[in-house]
Symmetry: C2
Subunit: 433 residues, 2 copies
């Protein structure tokens, strides 16, 4: 039986989950793979708090660098979080020729290029399944099972907090702020909640998926990001009336060699499988040119699901190290090209949901429709609701597919109309066609 000796940096929620998983199933993993995983060292600034896990004397230390340098440690699991010391530790481990496993999406989003290149220079691996989709083996599917495919599109529900909130808003009809406060009280949302509800966490994951799909590190500023903050219960109701629900999506597409990339709330048809992904679950749809549509679903966060993904990477890194694989596919796939080109408003084609408030007087709608027509935007359906007490009437419009740049121009003109009584709402409508 071969052994692999693991050094874990960060003994927080996920770190404890990893140790628990290895203690519970380490012998099973050894039976399955021929490699016994052994937690040799664990570093954390706090080694006093009881995590409910017993480790042998000498395993715990406050000195992360000593774990990296330890000759008895074969690979490093980085779970300290953040992008400062995590970066330092990761680069140091790679330079010492030790594979690194990380769950740190922010680290990869902000410093991925430097990290992948350092891994390649040192002919060693970095493994990061847990950074995207928690326990779902989505990156492994992309870089192994689907390795023969050009990726046509990826749609991801990648933030469990947002999906939990949207599910509850839809089911209970309650306003955003109330659900958020409740989610925070229940521990489903962080305080402050910005990373989740502003879509930043989803964007961190989206750039990792896009980098792997198209072969170069994708900077965060290539991913226009809007979250669900302040989403009105009216939009949820309007969408439901039209047969849609609203999901916060990461959208990644190949548009004739240019990458379309965004994180945004979008209407999706209720009968599509992605609409069935509820509560804090995550799911990723991947369409390959050979395999067609595929989907991967599971828990996107949490101590044990994330631990499961980290453990999967540990066993792969162990096998790679024992067989001198050198730079693995999880590195080479990210560095096929220097950079990607990204779509601009002129070559992003999409459908939209638009909600306007128009003064309830003759000609209001005509002015709006004239503007849409001028900008080549065809209308698929219009529902004008009863007018508010204010004297203005909400109008809900679903468009046909049109250019993003045309939408932007049209919305600017519509907003400037005298008959437009409040700021229009516009969201993508994604019918996956």
């Amino acid at each position: 039986m071969k052994e692999i000796r693991i050094g874990i940096l960060g003994f927080g929620t996920v770190g404890a989950g990893v140790v628990e998983g290895i203690q519970k199933n380490g012998a099973l993993m050894a039976d399955r793979t021929g490699i016994m995983p052994i937690v040799a060292r664990i570093a954390d600034l706090d080694i006093e708090t009881d995590r409910g896990i017993t480790v042998p004397d000498g395993v715990l230390t406050t000195d992360a660098m000593s774990v990296i340098a330890d000759e008895n440690v074969d690979l490093i699991v980085e779970l300290v979080g953040g992008t400062t010391v995590a970066r330092t530790f990761t680069l140091e481990a790679l330079k010492q020729g030790k594979p690194v496993i990380t769950a740190n999406k922010a680290l990869l989003a902000d410093h991925g290029e430097e990290i992948y290149k350092t891994a390649r220079e040192n002919n060693i691996g970095i493994y990061y399944e847990a950074a995207v989709g928690g326990g779902i083996p989505i990156l492994r599917s992309q870089r192994a099972g689907l390795i023969g495919n050009q990726i046509e599109s990826i749609y991801g529900i990648l933030n469990g907090t947002c999906n939990y909130m949207l599910t509850r808003m839809e089911r209970e009809g309650l306003p955003f702020d109330e659900i958020l406060a409740d989610a925070q009280a229940l521990g489903y949302a962080e305080t402050p909640p910005d990373l989740d509800i502003d879509g930043i966490d989803t964007a961190h994951k989206a750039v990792v998926l896009a980098s792997m799909a198209y072969g170069a590190p994708v900077p965060m500023d290539a991913c226009p990001t809007s979250g669900i903050r302040g989403l009105s219960a009216s939009e949820i109701v309007n969408a439901a009336d039209l047969g849609y629900c609203i999901k916060l999506l990461a959208i990644i597409k190949d548009n004739d060699g240019e990458v379309e990339l965004s994180v945004e709330p979008a209407l999706v048809p209720k009968e599509h499988m992605i609409a069935s992904v509820s509560d804090s679950f995550n799911a990723v749809f991947v369409k390959g040119d050979i395999v067609g549509d595929t989907m991967y679903y599971g828990r996107g966060a949490g101590r044990l699901p994330t631990g499961s993904a980290v453990i999967g990477d540990i066993m792969e890194a162990a096998s790679d190290k024992l067989h001198d694989v050198g730079t693995p596919v999880s590195v080479t796939m990210m560095l096929q090209k220097d950079a990607l080109t990204y779509c601009s408003g002129d070559n992003i084609i999409k459908r939209c949901y638009i909600r306007l408030c128009l003064e309830d007087k003759p000609g209001s709608m005509a002015q709006v429709m004239t503007i849409f027509g001028k900008h080549n935007i065809s209308i698929a359906s219009v529902v004008q609701k009863e007018r508010h007490e204010s004297g203005s009437a909400p109008v809900v419009i679903l468009t046909q597919a049109a250019k993003e740049s045309d939408f932007v121009a049209a919305m600017t003109e519509i907003q400037a109309l005298d008959v437009s009584t409040s700021e229009p709402i516009r969201m993508r409508l994604e019918d996956f066609e």
Copy 2:
């Protein structure tokens, strides 16, 4: 750039899909992995038919053994189908130290143990992602991403033909025979359709999944199998009225160390994601003790989706060969134990849907309910329909969870009742709890 030279045995539908995929995306795969896949030789008894694919002179041959023995062939892709020459070719290639990739579920179901052991003896790999779930990377997810998990349960929709037929029966309300004839005319079902509609194809895949989950080759006779042949449109309607749809499921569970395994049509709640898997798509739900619920979805058959899975295996086998990995996890996981123990009727606990036809006279229902009570079967709901012209009334019963052995005993007694006017129907009701 490293190269891997591939010998393909069988140039039928999937073989042509594999060659097409490599011709289209081989350079991309090389960029991603550092290994260039080259189709060196293709053997088929028929090398005259135009498959719409051009290959260089000298690649095609009718002599499969010469491809296996060719020094310029690094690995063998077995796509001849069946379990006779496919077995011979597979064993021969493994004995010559060449990794084998196969899509042949029947071969693994019938001769898996011999094949895995031959691979282990020769310290080489057999790779078979395409044998289960077509293009879905389900086995790779199980043996890599979820390697740290004890598998608690697997539910699979693994036969696209059956799922297509069930979807159409549900949508269109048409009888089984009419849908089958149509599916055959459209090429969705084979003639004869037995392997699909009798559940045998699903069982072939179920035993592979169960073998990997629990670590020993599972013989086909350990998998009680019933298909959808002759399923009545009444059952579909009754299920729908109660909030369920009917799916042909492979069911694999760990019941305290014993394996519960079956292939059977089952009622599943409409709101569960598995109910959203429609048409010819496949899906596999896997619950791990660490990761929780996960699901994998995609095309379960077809030239290109299956080709995608074969290509994924080719690239993995190539990497393993180039790095002298020896016996890979796809082999070691199947041979952890000599044999498994399986549940019998006493320790299979499930809910059931039961449809009876009872004479419409006082006391009929009482007799039935007395029998259920005697066998410890609690009733969750009963719907008695208007009586037929025949004078008997259909009764639809959903039970609570009870022992399979109790169901068998109760149904035998009920069928023998004078008031029971036709053979009762019984199906599993699976609420995934």
